[in-house]
Amino acid sequence: MTPVGLQHYLVLAAVLFSAGLCTMVVKRNAIGILIGAELLLNAANINLLAFSKYSAGTLDGAILALFVIVLAAAEVAIALAIFLNFYSRFASVDVDRGDQMRG
């Protein structure tokens, strides 16, 4: 087996990123879309730490990853509060229901 290096992590993160993007495109459930976004953020975090370990050799990758984790928590808190309001208005979290303002 070839030893694991930067490329392995980058390819893994690329596939995770594409899967997350695909989830966001394909799902109609608002919470499903949110979960897709979480996948994107995790792919980015894997990249940050892999570059930190194999290429840059600095601590900044870990620090940025910590920022990402905290911001993801904040994002989910707000998004869920919005979804709960959405749900109390439309009795569903199907994002297609929220098209009342289309021209």
């Binding site: 030893p3 694991v4 490329q7 992590y9 390819v11 893994l12 690329a14 596939v15 990123f17 594409s18 899967a19 997350g20 695909c22 989830t23 495109v25 394909v26 799902k27 109609r28 459930n29 919470i31 499903g32 979960i35 979480e38 995790n42 975090n45 894997i46 730490l49 892999a50 570059f51 930190s52 370990k53 194999y54 290429s55 840059a56 050799g57 600095t58 601590l59 900044d60 990758g61 870990a62 620090i63 910590l66 920022f67 984790i69 905290v70 911001l71 993801a72 928590a73 904040a74 989910v76 808190a77 707000i78 869920l80 509060a81 919005i82 979804f83 749900y87 109390s88 208005r89 009795a91």
Partner: protein, 202 residues
């Protein structure tokens, strides 16, 4: 030892990929969240493998233990019938999947064509450094956690403080968005909206 690392990497990578595919394919929203849990745990394992134990632990505590629990909480509150699923049109699914496969292919193609620089310091080099120099180094740094703390209160002080402001704003915003829309019987003063200003009743 290198061999063990390789095996662990492939195991965690497989777990993360299976989780990602599960998220993509699963119709049931709680199942989707469970697959995300698998991916998050695998990612945390990868962080441990990459020598960032602190980030891995924080990932488990905040992401897996807080954020995803919040999502599952949201699912429980918004799913009247937990097995309900929303299906998009087939054409949309096909288009989305094709585009994302193309994206993944393009990314992997570019990644294989690029040579990344390698500025990683060895263990001996890190040992010879002064404290201030060592704080900049991630891999092979024995006190990476302490260095992270010093960097947060040093170079990254302003983003760190801005982040706490963001969290405060999120706290207030979430409390505002989540306030009761219809009067709650027996609630303490200030929780219910004043008479005449209640939101729409549904």
């Amino acid at each position: 030892m290198d061999n063990l690392d390789t095996i662990v990497f492939y195991f965690l990578a497989a777990l993360a990929l299976v989780g990602a595919m599960g998220i993509l394919v699963s119709r049931n929203i709680v199942r989707t969240a469970m697959w995300l849990l698998a991916t998050l745990v695998a990612a945390a394992g990868l962080y441990f493998l990459l020598g960032a134990a602190f980030v891995g632990a924080i990932q488990l505590i905040v992401y897996a233990g807080g954020t995803l629990v919040l999502i599952i909480f949201g699912v429980m509150l918004t799913a009247k019938n937990p097995n309900v699923s929303y299906t998009p049109r087939t054409a949309e699914i096909v288009l989305g999947v094709v585009l994302c496969v193309l994206l993944a292919g393009a990314l992997i193609f570019v990644l294989h064509g690029t040579a990344w620089p390698n500025n990683v310091k060895s263990v001996e080099e890190v040992k010879r450094m002064s404290q201030a120099q060592r704080d900049l180094v991630g891999p092979n740094n024995p006190d990476a956690t302490e260095s992270t703390g010093r960097r947060f209160l040093g170079d990254y002080l302003v983003p760190f403080e801005v982040l706490s402001l963001v969290l405060l704003a999120v706290l207030i915003g979430a409390a505002y968005l989540g306030r009761p829309k219809v009067p709650v019987i027996g609630a303490p003063r200030g929780v219910n909206p004043p008479p005449g200003q209640e939101g729409p009743r549904k």
